[in-house]
Symmetry: C2
Subunit: 422 residues, 2 copies
Amino acid sequence: MNNDQLIATLATNARRAARTLATSTYEERQQALLAIATLIEKKEDEILRANSNDVQRERAAGMNESLLDRLTLNPARIAGMANGARKVAQLSDPLHQTLRHRVLDNGLELTQVSVPFGVVGMIYEARPNVTLDAAVILLMSGNAALLRGSSSASQTNQVLVEIMKEALTTTPISPEVLQLVPSDDRDTVRALLHARGLVDLVIPRGSASLIRTVVDESLVPAIETGAGVCHVYVDKHADMEKALPILINSKTQRPSVCNAAETLLIHKEVATSFLPPALTALHSAGVTLHCDELSGKVASSLSIPYIPATESDWSTEYGTLEMNVGVVDSLESATEHILKFGTHHTEAIVSESQESISRFIALSDCAAVMINASTRFTDGEEMGFGAEIGISNQKLHARGPMGLEAMTTTTWIVKGDGQIRK
Amino acid sequence: MNNDQLIATLATNARRAARTLATSTYEERQQALLAIATLIEKKEDEILRANSNDVQRERAAGMNESLLDRLTLNPARIAGMANGARKVAQLSDPLHQTLRHRVLDNGLELTQVSVPFGVVGMIYEARPNVTLDAAVILLMSGNAALLRGSSSASQTNQVLVEIMKEALTTTPISPEVLQLVPSDDRDTVRALLHARGLVDLVIPRGSASLIRTVVDESLVPAIETGAGVCHVYVDKHADMEKALPILINSKTQRPSVCNAAETLLIHKEVATSFLPPALTALHSAGVTLHCDELSGKVASSLSIPYIPATESDWSTEYGTLEMNVGVVDSLESATEHILKFGTHHTEAIVSESQESISRFIALSDCAAVMINASTRFTDGEEMGFGAEIGISNQKLHARGPMGLEAMTTTTWIVKGDGQIRK
């Protein structure tokens, strides 16, 4: 069987099984998630054994410590996964919700309701907890899942999927709604992306290059996630007392994630007052600075080392303690810079002027605008979604953190009594 | 300048101009549409002259009468276009609407609002009225438009776009928000589909092969529209008094459009009672029948001619007075047939059983389910949207008729007072 046939088989099995999800009740899906949580905790030893095999093999193969850390499970992380499933089970039902309702003059009753996509493919990298996090969100939203994790986590993922399937045998939901896609062959990703008509949606989660591959290659509708070149713009009407903590928090609180800031833009009228404390604080926090000409002069005058910012720096998602610094002539220059180099993820403005804020919102074209707040708040948990399957920075379907609702589509139910068109 | 550079230039101009839309008020957009309506009527002669050139050239080149009819404008059709623009101007504002609102414990105020996509590419075929219909929907929803019509309508489209641009000069909205993409070269379609990052969304409207090209080729997010292999399923619990008019209306009222039915599926328990009147009525209405074995026997017994239905017939969108007829063992067999051969557009069930209706809704996986009503009701006008830019039969973003709201995306506005993440 080649990979296209393999994916076709897995997707067809998943779709047939998905009928048991499409007709399931909220309570049945809740029970399924609770059964998964219980069994994941009960089988902790089995999970840790498989994970230890993965970690040892990858360590021997030379994987770096940061990736090894992401790959490694321990009892606390397993408990976290189980509790994550319990939390999702408590969220309100995303299915069969009435989104629009209308009765027409001819008596037809229109109801637009939320329904599952059907079969969703997840393509993700090292962290095995995504296997569980994604599966429970997809189950709760009524979708069958094709899970294509990293080969580095293959044994862990295999055990996690087996445990979830075993848990589903105690429910009316068919265990076949979960399908692990083999990760020992890179070509299974291509086959999944080409399974148009068999898979309804693919979601990549991981590096920019993975997401780029999906966007370029996929014939299946895809949701782009994650890449975040986020900016903090300090307006001429900024309250400097707010600006400094927002800047430092946006850059340094967790630099590896997509909602961390990569670039500081400052209005020229406040550059001379704000740059000295800002550059000093960033430098003290261990941030390597990439400066434009004007901010570089300020850095020099403070004896703070910096690298002259290159064209490619402005569009780099560092994911580390590095930051670009630029001085702009106006709010419009700031938003032009953001549109040119940004990724439509999260943009922050620090300003006390309602006019500046309104123009920034209208012109920055992103999933989330932070007004006098850290970029780090673009996050499903922080924003009260309860769980998130990723952060979309595309405009189609879902924009920003995606929770259960984003994993649904709609159907118009048109109820008649024999109406025909005149 | 090659076509990639051409599209880049048009899209960049459109995006710059789109700022005047992003910051426009509802009243300004309404006035723009009314100005367009007035000028379209005033310049009727100019439009008719250009259209007459297109029609003469295409007639000489051998275009068939049905396509010539779609290409031809007359005073009534021009008035229809102008009144269409006036109607869209009366619809409620799709922009800056609050979709979700939440205040977090930390004081952050979250508001999800509707915003324009930005730059939308329309790719469409013969009918020049789409130039105006699409432009006004896109303007009203705050989007700049790249309009790529058919080369057969090139002079008409050119004049229509010039008139709309002239009308915009009387408003605060830049005329550059409308850009006509040259249609003299097929390659401009490819260039438009590859303009990732420059164009936010493309919408194809036209033949199945156009839509297939877009789906296969596009690197820009696209919304599939139109292809409709719709079914009428007559359940064993059907009221036959309702079934017959629904069947005939679904097939014959306007067979060329996507929401016309192509296939009748009948539960075996009612086949012997329903098929004789159904086949007789279809035959009398001039419908050519493609029958499975059982329905073919009934046709034979009534001396009604038929063609044995082939595998490819079941998935053909005839668009003419032809219909497939099949007898199924159960509701589940009907929905399996629909999932195998349908296009997730519109599926009708005729049944008095709530259980049958619920199962059909859960298992037919389509944009619109008609319960005891004609498939022909899946239509923006009929469903009260006021206008439609197309009917989506994909699951991502919009499903079913797309009005103004479907042409918007969202932004989370997060209002703080200096909040940072702990």
